[in-house]
């Protein structure tokens, strides 16, 4: 219990520190330390982190390269800094989640535990729904789905998730209100 809470504090401190460091070499060193701490899981966590940030970082990096080119400045140092920081924070989060029981880390606060349980149940529900949407698309496609069909299916799924998230949030808020969560 104490261990989980201590790791939560360390994690939050590390997140703040990573956003305050502006030296790419320091961030790279921190990344190496994290990979060493991850041990056997290092390759799996690194691959997972890279997969998660790939599209976002690529879009931001390309946008920044374009802006730097228009302004006539060199983009490389900033690009290295941004990408290293995002990778470091993502890897740190994955490592934290794989090592710490969040429920035990937050058990000092009934409110935070309650919110975590709500968020966790929503995430599980969406994970199941996401798998369902993926299988439904596969079942309707006689061949490998075309890119346009993938986009349309993703857009329809996103709209459904938004709708559901909104409805669930309203329900949860009402349930919390009924149990006195918002009472002073």
């Amino acid at each position: 219990m104490k261990r989980d809470r201590l790791l939560l504090i360390l994690y939050l401190t590390a997140v703040v520190a990573a956003t305050l460091v502006h030296e790419p070499s320091s961030l790279a060193a921190a990344l190496v330390v994290l990979l060493l701490l991850a041990g056997h899981d290092a390759t799996r966590l690194l691959r997972r982190s890279l997969r998660v940030i790939l599209v976002f970082n690529l879009a931001v990096s390309l946008g920044y390269v374009l802006l730097a080119w228009l302004r006539g400045i060199s983009p490389w140092e900033t690009l290295l800094l941004i990408n290293l920081r995002v990778l470091l924070l993502t890897l740190l989060t994955f490592l934290f989640i794989s090592r710490v029981n969040l429920f035990r880390a937050l058990d000092f606060s009934p409110t935070l535990s309650w919110l975590l349980a709500l968020a966790y149940s929503q995430a599980l529900g969406f994970q199941r729904a996401h798998a369902e949407f993926r299988l439904a698309l596969a079942s309707r496609c006689l061949e490998r789905p075309r890119l346009i069909d993938r986009y349309r299916a993703s857009a329809a799924a996103a709209a459904w998730f938004m709708d559901r998230a909104l409805a669930t949030a309203r329900e949860s808020a009402l349930a919390l209100r009924a149990r006195g969560f918002f009472d002073a």
């Binding site: 369902e132 949407f133 299988l135 439904a136 079942s139 309707r140 006689l142 061949e143 349309r152 329809a156």
Partner: protein
């Protein structure tokens, strides 16, 4: 038409199906019964070739079906055309910009010459003709279910798998669907936990126990008359009734949706 031999499946260490053995012949109307979490949906997804079981063999028209074999383009194309699955949540299946495009999606993939005729025919059958240019997203729950069904039937499947098709329908649409399925001249496997409707959906019952095993495979009427099996499958419950000073207890069917 299809045969499952020793099918076993687990998700992340949790058992979903254990040693399932069954055959379904062409033209049969089969009802798949079981309590929540007994593995009904997983079994349908295995039959639809969307999940490859951890153990056992699945054969469709004497051809083994699994993820590796479905990489064969010709087999996959034929299988996906012939086997259609209606998901419990029709929203998962609808992603085209209009109702028309949704029904036309399958026939267009097959490059059929009569796409328009098929769309109009199935839209007519489902009562969606005046909604062809609407967004599928904007339809009611029952209409989405009908649209998803129309989209599947427009391809001309030989095996239709329905996952809890009446769970979100109003009584009128439920009645319409039961009549419609009775007239459909193809093999249909329907999952439900609604015992009142089960005999209307098929004459043969496959029942999954809470231990994820096949508890019953045979005519539905004897199963519905067997209180021990119904209790074992967690398809009935009993509770106390008070009538003044008199108190008694008897079984009830689970007809919640």
């Amino acid at each position: 038409m299809l045969e499952l031999t020793g099918i076993t499946h687990r998700y992340d260490g949790c058992l979903a199906l254990v040693d399932i053995n069954l055959r379904v012949n062409s033209g049969e109307k089969v009802v798949l019964l079981g309590a929540n979490g007994s593995g009904k949906s997983t079994l349908l997804k295995i039959i639809a070739g969307l999940i490859t079981p951890n153990g056992g063999l699945y054969r469709y028209k004497d051809e083994a079906i699994d993820a590796r074999r479905l990489k064969d383009r010709a087999l996959s194309r034929r299988f996906r055309r012939e086997v259609a699955l209606l998901f419990q949540n029709p929203d998962a299946m609808l992603f085209n910009p209009t109702v028309y495009d949704e029904i036309a999606f399958g026939p267009r993939q097959l490059a059929l010459a009569d796409v328009d005729a098929r769309v109009r025919h199935w839209a007519g059958v489902m009562g969606l003709t005046d909604k062809l240019q609407q967004l599928p997203f904007s339809l009611s729950g029952g209409e989405k279910q009908k649209l998803a069904l129309a989209a599947l039937l427009a391809v001309g499947p030989e095996l239709l798998l329905l996952d809890e098709p009446v769970s979100a329908l109003d009584p009128r649409t439920t009645g319409w669907l039961i009549d419609f399925l009775a007239e459909l001249p193809i093999t249909v496997i329907t999952t439900t936990h609604n015992l009142s409707l089960a005999p209307e959906l098929g004459s043969r019952a496959l029942v999954l126990s809470e231990e994820h095993r096949l508890l019953h495979d045979g005519p539905i009427e004897p199963f519905l008359a067997d209180a021990d099996k119904l209790r074992a499958a967690n398809l009935v419950h009993s509770h106390r009734h008070r009538h003044g000073a008199l108190e008694h207890r008897h079984d009830h069917v689970h007809d919640w949706d």
